[in-house]
């Protein structure tokens, strides 16, 4: 009897504690969303989204930051999605599951996914700017400084490296949901391997490639550390017109506004509104990806 009671108490505690943990996590998510929403909703107007910052960024909008972030994720996706998709195709279609090459590539991808984002920033600075950029300047421009400094291209490529694993993992998952029978049918009809991949496997995994792209965009739009020294600018009076210009960025804007602006309190509404924009952007992107993915998983079952 006594043991039973004790058991019940411990059991109740464990169950309650674990349920409480879930509630706590979900609660924090809700609190963050609500607090940012309340703090930013009054400032967030159409005008705020479409105008330039004014008076030392104390007033006005965040249009250049939105524009810069959009350019960043577009160039990033152009670089990351094809490479990620091809790697995923290799891992699922060409490599043998147990071969050391496939294992090593998988390990490399997982390592890439866990490398801190600031390291990508350092790599972008050391490789793209100081090695590739400086090399391009020396070879093509005779030492004239153009590419060996932070710009949109280097920032986007750095971000592409960061989001590469995201793309690879979701495309791979999608390719695996394409039924084996479809491939075999295609091969039995005389199609070659590459034709099968092109006509059967890839069309069947479009939703996965889309999920990967959306997740990558969500990640790339929010990360700041990789672009700290590879292209983001504190303030620009004009929009970037070529890939060799610097750009403004939503996340970087939040960072500088909240830590380095002249009057943090006065700029508070703008900071909250900017955070709200970024949070809504990444949140809706991730939500879309989750929804597509759950449909994909259901199909697999």
């Amino acid at each position: 009897m006594k043991i039973r009671l004790k058991n019940k108490i411990i059991g109740g505690t464990v169950t309650a504690a674990s349920a409480l943990s879930v509630i706590l996590i979900l609660g924090i998510i809700v609190i963050m969303l609500v607090v940012t929403f309340i703090g930013g909703k009054d400032t967030l107007t159409w005008k705020f989204l479409t105008t330039f910052p004014e008076e030392g960024m104390m007033k006005g909008g965040i249009f250049p930051a939105i524009y810069g972030t959009a350019l960043l994720v577009i160039i990033m996706s152009i670089a990351a999605v094809p490479f990620g998709t091809i790697t995923a195709i290799y891992l699922t279609e060409y490599a043998h599951e147990k071969s050391w090459i496939a294992q090593t590539i998988r390990f490399a991808v997982r390592t890439l996914a866990t490398v801190p984002s600031i390291i990508f920033g350092l790599f972008g600075l050391g490789f793209f700017i100081k090695f590739v950029g400086a090399g391009m300047d020396n070879w093509f421009l005779g030492g004239h400084l153009k590419w060996a400094q932070p710009n949109l291209l280097w920032g986007s490529l750095t971000m592409a490296l960061l989001t590469l694993p995201v793309v690879i993992v979701s495309v791979e998952e999608a390719i695996r949901t394409v039924p084996r029978e479809l491939r075999e049918a295609s091969l039995a009809l005389g199609a070659t391997k590459w034709q099968t991949i092109k006509r059967v496997v890839l069309p069947g995994s479009v939703s996965g490639i889309m999920t990967g792209t959306i997740l990558a965009v969500g990640r790339g739009a929010g990360e700041v550390a990789p672009i700290l020294f590879t292209g983001a600018a504190y303030y620009l009076a004009t929009l970037p017109t070529s890939v060799s210009d610097q750009f403004m960025n939503l996340g970087y804007h939040i960072y500088v506004m909240s830590t380095q602006s002249a009057n943090v309190d006065q700029a508070m509404p703008i900071q909250f509104a900017t955070t709200l924009v970024l949070l809504m952007l990444t949140f809706s992107l991730n939500l879309t990806a989750v929804l597509i993915r759950s449909r994909l998983r259901r199909r697999m079952k």
Partner: protein, 404 residues
Amino acid sequence: MNSNQATPGLSFTAESLRKKFRFSEFFAEKLITSVAFLSIALIILIFFFVFRESLPAFKHRPKATTEQQKITDGNKPESYGSSDTEAGSQKPETYGGAEASAGENKPETYTGSEPAAANKPESYGLVKDTSISADEVNPDASLRPSSEPESEGSLSSLFSNEWFPVSENPRYGLIPLFVGTLKVTLIAMLFAAPIAIFAALFSSSFAPAWLREWIKPAIELLAGFPSVVIGFFALMVMATFLQNLFGYETRLNSFVGGIAMALAAIPVIFTITEDALTAIPASYKEASLALGASKWQTAVFVTLPAATPGIFAAVLLGVGRVFGETMIALMATGNAALSGLNPFESVRTLAATIGAEMAEVVFGDMHYGVLFLIGSMLFIFNFSINAVAEFYVKGKLVKKIQGK
């Protein structure tokens, strides 16, 4: 088999069955394979280039001091504050938020020494002769003949207790940074690990199936929160709230930073732990339940122990996440390089140091090299954590489940 022989028109010879060489097939396969190797190449390249840029830390010791000393001798220190902002924005070598951050934190130094450091490495020899007085300021250097054991001087200063990269006598002691990082990591893990593991236990063992399908994606949404947003939330909301709650002095400290980073680590730990718990074969649980154990007893005494290697891996990866986290550290930990053990003190983490100072260094000098050296260390640390999680833990998990 028989039908083959029976069909008159078709005859299969070794010749006709041989795979035809098709150039497009060959090309596609080779191209895809080589692209796939990009990930491996990237890891190597990252290490190589980050480490390569850290080389100045090993050789430039006297230069760094003498250069600066010379500048301070030549110009009046007061003149720097005003000229700094313009100088910073003109130099191509100063990056990103240089104007803002340099102006705010460390108005002295560097901008003046830039051309010499960046363009003419040969000139150091000359500078060295004129700078014997400079060496006297630096106790390290004055103890030994000025020419040969320079690299030792630079390396030993890394183990000192002071991080003053931007001063007349720069000191690059990494100890406060390590202490700060470890403190924040420890606090973050103390919060994140139990919460995430309990949540994973609930999701995998107690929650009904329909609830589980909601919990997992919902918590994974937290992983999608940009770290700058979490940092902002910690800076604006959490810091004030916690200060009112506990009544400590410094508003931004390792405690606030640690809790904020716990938010970043929770989804990582949760996801991997959840996967590990659900991977435990149903026969384990069924056996336990059949012996009369209750649901929670099965969860705590059977499922959880069986999944320990996976949970260990999850916590390791969570540590890796916190260790390298930059934006939250920059925004919520206060960024003062103190090495005390009080959790309510401001700290400066390794990653935050890179993020805050890279924008204002001179390319190729000691400070620059040290920041990249910190980067290399972070990379190696993360790489090893990942390798341990991958090989050691996975091997153990498989053995355990197979009962060997």
